[in-house]
């Protein structure tokens, strides 16, 4: 009987996490639902995955990241599972770091969120702007040809998105902590 109650708390916690991830995905990816600051949107899913992974460790972090990544890919219409791979990695790494060498507090959460956002955004920017090959007419070889204005977009869009995400992260952190405390096993 006691075990079933404890299991129910665990199931409830993960159900709440799933709903939180869904709501965060909707807020992040639906234009107009969450304020844009100077045209830049916060990456709420990244901070949600980081916060949950810090509290639940690496294995849960993997599946939370996987779920969030699939949702993001569905919204973004992204092919090639980019978001799923990135968020799974972020979930695993953050969970593993907190489980082994880092403490679980808001300062480390800020550091991990900043690092994850930079990792994600820089990879995305590199994929979209830098890693570009074009073929000239009559030439069968593809030539490395980054888009012009790539650096400007990194400095004016991707970097500010990281900053805004880090600023908004503490709200998510304390919400996840509240959920965990309310559904903690005795």
């Amino acid at each position: 009987m006691l075990l079933r109650i404890e299991n129910k708390k665990i199931y409830a916690r993960y159900a709440i996490y799933a709903v939180l991830i869904i709501i965060t995905a909707v807020l992040q990816n639906t234009k107009g639902l969450f304020p844009e600051i100077f045209g830049v949107r916060a990456m709420l899913l990244v901070s949600a995955v980081v916060c949950i992974s810090m509290h639940e460790r690496e294995v849960s972090g993997i599946f939370i990241g996987l779920f969030a990544g699939f949702l993001w890919d569905a919204y973004a219409g992204g092919i090639f599972n980019f978001n799923a791979i990135m968020l799974t990695t972020i979930g695993f790494v953050c969970g593993a770091l907190v489980g082994s060498i880092m403490r679980n507090n808001v300062v480390t959460a800020l550091l991990l969120t900043a690092g994850s956002c930079l990792f994600y955004n820089t990879s995305y920017w590199f994929k979209e702007y830098i890693f570009n090959f074009t073929k000239s007419p009559g030439d069968s070889r593809a030539v490395f040809n980054p888009y012009s204005g790539a650096w400007a977009s990194y400095l004016t869009f991707y970097l500010p998105a990281c900053i805004i995400t880090v600023i908004l992260m503490p709200a998510c952190y304390f919400l996840v902590r509240l959920i965990r405390n309310k559904t903690k096993q005795n």
Binding site: I22, V26, T30, K31, G32, L33, P35, E36, I37, F38, G39, R57, E58, V59, I62, L66, F70, L71, D73, A74, Y75, G78, I79, F80, N81, A84, I85, T88, T89, F92, G95, A96, S100
Partner: protein, 286 residues
């Protein structure tokens, strides 16, 4: 470090990422360019996406966005310029539409009278005190406008030119008490001349005076120019008989005529610079 790489967490991570990469490679070669997981997630959460888009549309008027004032100011200037361009286009469109309307109405007249020479003109000014009695057009002697040239709208008589400058001319309308023209009533063929009084002119009417007591002209009758005198061609429509009243000064009657065109609303007219049977120009009033 070895413990980390041999931990169950790392093994699960490796398997999951390997599966994702396999899905990525499969998607790259698939016809739909998407992974099965993405397709399933899209299908499952499709209604949620639509619902969130619906909520977003509803909240769009309340959405809070922080933009720099410089970008807002630039956007504002761009939109203002666009509005100004559109406004100018609209004005040109309205002008073109009115001209087209005028030409359409005049087409029948031209077909019936091949000798008519038209010149289109825009109303550029009206007498502020008596707006219906005269107005200024933007054509003048440079374009062969001369004094006493009839001014029409469609097949309706509006007035005649009473003074000409190189690029302007002044028109005396049928609502001016000093105006008169030979007319006849179409059904009864009774002839007379059209004129008006200050009181009738203020109401926008003309009069056909000196009708016999036993006149056959009745309300609803139509009055057109008779061509007598050579100032106006025959059969230009003047107006409709509104009522037939007794004169106070003698035993004759007069008909109150409602003009066929609203003189106050005219923006474009046609000047008949030549027509068959036209008399040479004479100074206004003679």
């Amino acid at each position: 470090m070895r413990r980390f790489f041999s931990s169950s967490g790392f093994k699960i991570f490796t398997v999951v990422v390997a599966a994702l990469l396999a899905g990525t490679i499969a998607a790259a070669f698939s016809h739909h360019k998407t992974t099965p997981a993405t397709s399933v997630t899209s299908a499952v959460f499709g209604p949620l996406q639509r619902f969130s888009a619906y909520i977003s549309d509803g909240l769009s008027k309340y959405s809070i966005n922080f933009k720099s004032s410089a970008s807002l100011s630039e956007e504002n200037k761009k939109l203002e310029k666009e509005i100004e361009d559109l406004r100018q286009q609209l004005v040109k469109y309205e002008q073109t539409k009115q001209l087209l309307d005028l030409y359409k109405k005049s087409l029948g007249l031209k077909d019936e009278n091949p000798g008519f020479q038209f010149l289109s003109a825009a109303v550029v000014g009206r007498d502020a005190l008596t707006p219906f009695r005269s107005f200024t057009l933007n054509q003048g002697s440079e374009n062969k406008v001369s004094i006493n040239d009839p001014v029409i709208y469609g097949d309706c008589l509006v007035g005649k030119v009473i003074s000409v400058m190189p690029t302007r001319c002044v028109v005396q309308t049928i609502l001016d008490p000093a105006f008169n023209a030979g007319v006849y009533e179409i059904r009864s063929h009774e002839e007379g001349f059209i004129t008006t009084t200050g009181a009738l002119s203020a109401k926008g009417f003309c009069r056909l005076p000196q009708l016999d007591k036993a006149t056959e002209i009745t309300p609803g009758g139509m009055v057109s120019t008779s061509g007598v005198g050579g100032l106006f061609p025959r059969d230009l429509f003047v107006g409709t008989v509104k009522e037939v009243l007794d004169e106070t000064a003698d035993i004759s009657c007069y008909a109150v005529i409602e003009p066929g065109v609203d003189i106050g609303e005219l923006d474009y007219v046609l000047i008949l610079t030549d027509f068959k049977g036209k008399l040479d120009a004479a100074p206004a009033g003679e």
